[in-house]
Symmetry: C2
Subunit: 432 residues, 2 copies
């Protein structure tokens, strides 16, 4: 029966697209995953590795011999090998490198030289170039001889003899134009060009805004280096969104769902440690007021309300500001305007929610002064949250850091410790 | 001087792409925004409205007369008008509708009939169809007569006389094939087809996996209805990522950076109210133990540590599970395996961080039993976080809800109230 099932499974795997195989592998516990991995057609190995997430890819590579890995890598283009390179053993990479034709070696070296968040890392070298002084008819004959065009070829690149980019010839334009016309008369000179050192994020914005399928990459002399295609951009956008989401939750990277326990612990410990430090600080702030709490124990039950709502409100502000920074919507002059607005919001919220909290406190403890202190503390903590909710991301940006990273932890630390301090010191001043 | 500046500004605006104008408008306070909006060429009005975010679009539409709005809408395709429709006044929509040719009226009605998260809402009607029994040469002549092809035309759709989809003819295939060949011999029958009722999320996955530029939409009889193109998919992915990020922070929708204070308050109040309720509950849990806190006031200073780290750890688990659910990686059988793994992680974390917290407590309060109670409470709260971090999203999914929505608030509520309860009751049992 085992054998029957295996045959069935083999048939199933044979019918799947590499991307679907990668997905299937991610959803399987390690043992089953390696069983299925063994059934994948060797010619798909490279593509599946490419499509799999980092954590899964590692488990697959560990399972493969050096020979298999070299064979898998050789099926891929230079830019794709560059994506795999960080995960491949040194000796495998050397073998792969030696097996490549000279031109591709150059491409691989170029692709590996760019940082992960640069346009160069998204570059694809599969471009078709034409000269501007030929007729479309000649271009058509040339294309026919190629037998197949690279994926996502929506335009050909018009270059001079020094490979300098002169314009682009849209495929759709070729189809609707008279074959007797010259490339120079049909090509477009208005085009989006990227530099390999541009931020990948900016390329993604350009694709989104201008609805591109591909865009050229040129160096500072306008020499054509390669192109970026929309499928790579989609992958980049998805990975970026995922990375942000994971980071917000305090996970260092995406995790194999079935990773061994100790691996998961390693992926998660940094943020827990940071949070522990901020929790210790908050705890010591409360410790300062132990005398007050001993005299009026209701303070202990009420203080988390002030800290909690402050944290929430601060995170709302931070999210707004981080989004606006990512979209470059904040100009130098508008910081004060934004702080003004957020302070306005927190005054209104402070009065509304402070009032609710004050009434709640009065209802439970029958103590008017305690209710008023709650209301005032809430208002002040929301003001603190608003002010730092704007200032933390703006400062991180000014220091050249990613404002999305860590600003949520910081604001929560401030509104916790700050909230406890504000509430307990007001209570000590007015109630005891 | 004012006039000089206006002229300068007019020149600048005239050079911008509609998407860039929309971005510029978003970054300006209301008064300046309306000034620039007045300078935009009328023929760009429709595109700018389309590119602007909901909050900004509203401020622009409020500023326009009915005539201007009708004129702007008339420049757009039916599927684009459908995107604007919810924001347009009723009488404007009626005028627009009446001004459309019959065929486009049908398309507009169709486009407006699908829910926002369905493939139908992404549909574009600009398709080129050909018959399978003609030569490529004839197709080429036909295309040449069109003078311009719709954007993102990477394939033509091959249909029979009843508009039933038979296959697709890739543009790149036309270019490299002999013009004497028949469409039937060059077309591909293996193709991705979508249904208008499919989830837009699934279409996005398909584009990402199979590197598509466009895909056909057919009804259940295989009749061709329209297509989806990659630019729409990118917009969808971006909007989804943004929506998720805003929701996580407790913002109902994206906010105009310069919105009036009361508008922002309205956008943010729901989550603050929900959090206030959970904070009240946590406060009452502490209230149950006021006698214990009175006797040992250190408890008040220590309890936020237990609650805080529990919340962090629970959010890590939830993020993992929500991501895996979104990628359909969790099969029926794996829930128990996942719970087992997360419990393993929290036992290890509980022992490590519980130990650290216990030592910290001992160092400050010189009380061994208190340190042990802290350690045990930490361990138990992390276990609670792990268990519910898996169960909450799985349950939401089973109930047919989006597991990304609200699960973070729920886990925090559980680890706060639960953490206070576990710690304070252990302390009452063992220390007093």
């Amino acid at each position: 029966i085992q054998k029957e099932n295996l045959k069935e499974l083999q048939r199933l795997v044979d019918k799947l697209h590499p991307a679907d195989i990668a997905d299937l592998l991610e959803s399987l516990p390690l043992e089953d995953r390696l069983l299925v991995w063994g059934l994948v057609r060797p010619e798909y190995d490279g593509d599946v590795l490419l499509e799999a997430s980092d954590a899964i890819r590692e488990t697959l590579i560990t399972d493969m011999g050096a020979h298999e890995l070299v064979a898998a890598a050789e099926q891929l283009d230079a830019d794709e090998i560059a994506d795999l390179a960080p995960d491949l053993p040194q000796d495998v990479m050397e073998d792969v490198f030696r097996s490549l034709p000279i031109a591709e070696r150059e491409q691989l070296r170029a692709a590996m030289s760019y940082p992960e968040d640069a346009v160069g890392a998204l570059m694809d070298f599969d471009v078709i170039t034409v000269r501007e002084n030929v007729r479309l008819e000649v271009v058509l004959r040339y294309l026919r001889r190629l037998e197949e065009l690279p994926d996502h070829t929506d335009q050909l690149f018009v270059v001079d003899r020094n490979e300098h980019l002169k314009g682009v010839l849209l495929i759709n334009k070729i189809l609707v134009s008279d074959p007797e016309m010259l490339v120079a008369d049909v090509m477009t000179k208005e085009m989006i060009t990227l530099h390999p050192d541009d931020k990948a994020q900016d390329a993604a914005h350009a694709f989104e805004r201008y609805d591109l399928v591909s865009a050229s990459i040129i160096d500072h002399d306008k020499k054509l280096l390669g192109r970026v295609t929309v499928n790579t951009v989609i992958d980049f956008i998805q990975e970026k969104a995922e990375y942000d989401a994971l980071n917000l939750a305090g996970l260092r990277e995406e995790e194999d769902l079935f990773a061994p326990v100790l691996r998961s612990v390693r992926n998660r410990w940094v943020w827990l440690a940071i949070n522990l430090v901020t929790a210790f600080i908050a705890s010591r702030v409360i410790g300062l007021f132990e005398d007050s709490i001993e005299k009026l124990v209701a303070l202990a039950a009420l203080m988390p309300i002030i800290a909690g709502i402050g944290g929430n409100s601060g995170n709302q502000t931070i999210t707004m500001i981080v989004r606006a920074l990512a979209l470059e919507q904040i100009k130098a002059g508008s910081a004060w305007k934004l702080i003004g607005k957020e302070i306005g919001v927190s005054v209104v919220n402070g009065l509304i929610w402070g009032g609710v909290v004050g009434l709640f406190t009065f209802a439970i403890y029958q103590n008017v002064e305690l209710g008023l202190v709650m209301m005032l503390a809430m208002l002040l903590n929301l003001l603190l949250a608003a002010l730092l909710g704007v200032l933390i991301p703006l400062t991180l940006r000014k220091l050249g850091r990613d404002p999305a990273l860590g600003s949520s932890v910081m604001i929560t630390a401030v509104t916790d410790s700050g909230g406890f301090f504000i509430f307990l010191s007001l209570a000590t001043l007015f109630l005891l």
